[in-house]
Symmetry: C2
Subunit: 387 residues, 2 copies
């Protein structure tokens, strides 16, 4: 059976970090971007395409997979890796964010969250322990602690109370994983005995609450730490400040994961502040809406200016879409409502994000991250009038 | 520049024929199945996937491409091959069928068809000459003559009048192509100077009209001959009889193309009656609806019986979908509304159709087509209670 989770820091350049982590299903180089495969599939991309674009690890979502097809069904299939046919590393979000953003009629107590499914209105309860059990059945390589997600804006008092509850829930999640590791109860199939677990730092936009959350979450002793509750509407400089402060507070020998972020510029800026891992629906969702990221800025492929443009989306991109198709054809496919528009655009955007991470890793390794960062921000901000 | 169209008959087994045809963009082994790429894209499949499934030639549609993005725009891109990034053989349907099935307020005269676009209601006219010009701009390797498509059922009188008009239109199409070959007018960009042209035999369900149409269409001297107006509601044995009679009437040294047909059983049965080429939306459309073709019969992937089925769609299929994914996962993707459900199912169904054509070709070559046919019909009719 595979390896236990381990993070190794290989190089630093300023606050930026170059490392890798080992999982039972393979090694991931960091900083890493993780494409989102909410329901066990990255939208509009086959696994082989996701891997070809350079993804080493993808995300699944506890809330969605619990509701459909069900964590017990997946456990009977041998776990999420076998069920979806992806044998590389997998991370599962705990479902906290989805309970707060998708589910209906939710009631939050100290015990956990009661909610109704957005699919059929059926009633369910997620407790910290239950989300650990569900993720044990899924057997992801990295499971996330169950946290309370705060609406933005929130008062300091509300943010503090919510953060403190998330800290208590994190401790319960950690304790439950220890139970499953030592003596799993008969109703919990542990699909991946070497599953790692990350805690999540909350605290809204309040730096002192973020510090308190970081310290208290670290006290539970997780394998890695995420920063949650950002990119929810706060100003960008507030987000960057919180990322810098929080990352600096987290242990140097554990990976730091900024959840749900962000634009290509955000990736570079947050790596500069010490982040090692990212996930975001932006490359895939924007692709399906015809919004493409390129080395020269953003492109809205619907724009009439591309109707007779025989060039590739991005002249320096080596993805299948850029090697084979023109902007004119991609615009046609989009306007014609062809499914391949979403597929080709997704392939490109994922490649752009993952290539960017590769360039980031290389720059840190070479000690040239700061000049890379300046050049990158200059080039991607061009053409932005287009989107 | 490439080769002129040429058909070579390599072997026969009873009435079944094994051959190949050369086009300016490559050789196609027959009997051949052509995936449908109406708008310049096979729905839910990247070109690389279509090629990997074994397709040597795909279809585009004159009506759709004329309306969007426009044949003149495509000519400015260098023709359809360059526009869509497919450098293998391409056939374009003339749009006759779409004018009769999709367009609104159509008025048919001896001159041609006036109609309104199904997209925006704009008014257009297709004459035989105009559809030749449009296809010249598209630059497909095989252009189809413009024919009148008859509603089913039709009286003998209506079928005769319509067929005779199609014969006259075919002669006009042929004459127009000769003009374009000799001295194209300045407003017609000929994107593929060695484009071949096929005539279409009509005549409804009336054998004598089919014979008359075949003889008169052949008199115009096309590079190949299609049988149109079948699989529109007539009984299957009527279709098979007309195919057999019509194919037998067509010149031995030209390919015979049965348009818009059909099920896997139809392919085998019509090859047995002398057909060399097929196209049909069935493998791609059914795939998107969760209807899969397998060596053991049809599968409706929505069926609850597949919820925990860890086996591949088809144990003897070597497509990406069958190599990588289980029926349980494919059912999950379909029910979850994931775009990859359509993509994976399409890959499989295309592979099944194209593998079937490969087995047909091999059997004719070996002189074992009749036993292949019996065995094939026995196996694919299993599990059909499922769909």
């Amino acid at each position: 059976m595979g390896r236990t989770f381990r993070f190794t820091l290989r190089a630093t350049d300023g606050t930026a970090r170059r490392g890798e982590f080992e999982t039972p299903h393979g090694v991931v180089q960091t900083p890493a971007f993780m494409p989102v495969g909410t329901q066990g599939a990255v939208k509009a991309a086959l696994h082989s395409d996701v891997a070809a674009a350079g993804a080493a690890i993808i995300l699944g979502n506890t809330y969605h997979l619990f509701l459909r097809p069900g964590d017990e069904l997946i456990a009977r299939r041998g776990g999420l890796h076998r069920f979806i046919g992806w044998d590389g590393p997998l991370l599962t979000d705990s479902g906290g964010f989805q309970v707060f953003s998708l589910a209906a009629h939710r009631v939050i107590t100290e015990q956990g969250a009661e909610f109704q499914s957005h699919l059929d209105g059926s009633r369910h309860q997620f407790t910290p322990e239950r989300t650990v059990d569900i993720q044990a059945r899924l057997g992801s390589d990295i499971a996330m602690a169950f946290d309370e997600c705060l609406a933005f804006p929130a008062t300091r008092q509300a943010a503090a109370a919510s953060m403190q509850r998330s800290v208590r829930w994190a401790a319960r999640c950690r304790a439950r994983l220890e139970v499953l590791r030592a003596a799993p109860p008969p109703d919990v199939t542990v699909s991946n005995p070497r599953q790692a677990q990350f805690g999540i730092v909350q605290g809204g936009v309040f730096l002192d609450l973020r510090r308190e959350s970081a310290d208290a979450t670290v006290a539970s002793g997780f394998d890695g730490y995420a920063i949650g509750g950002l990119s929810v509407g706060e100003p960008i400089d507030v987000m960057y400040t919180i990322v810098a402060e929080t990352a600096g507070r987290l242990p140097r020998d554990r990976p730091r994961y900024l959840m749900g972020v962000g634009t290509p510029e955000d990736l570079v800026e947050c790596v500069a502040r010490g982040i090692d891992m990212f996930d975001c629906v932006m490359p895939t969702r924007n692709a399906r809406n015809g919004q493409l990221f390129t080395s020269q800025g953003r492109i809205n492929i619907k724009n009439a200016r591309y109707a007779e443009d025989d060039g590739p989306l991005d002249p320096i991109c080596s993805c299948y879409t850029c090697r084979r198709h023109s902007r004119a054809y991609l615009r046609h496919l989009y306007l014609a409502g062809e499914m391949t528009a979403g597929a080709l655009n997704t392939l490109h955007n994922l490649t752009f994000y993952l290539d960017t991470m590769g360039r980031i890793r290389e720059a840190i390794q070479l000690g040239t991250f700061d000049s890379f960062r300046q050049e990158f921000l200059r080039s991607v901000s061009r053409l932005s009038h287009d989107s």
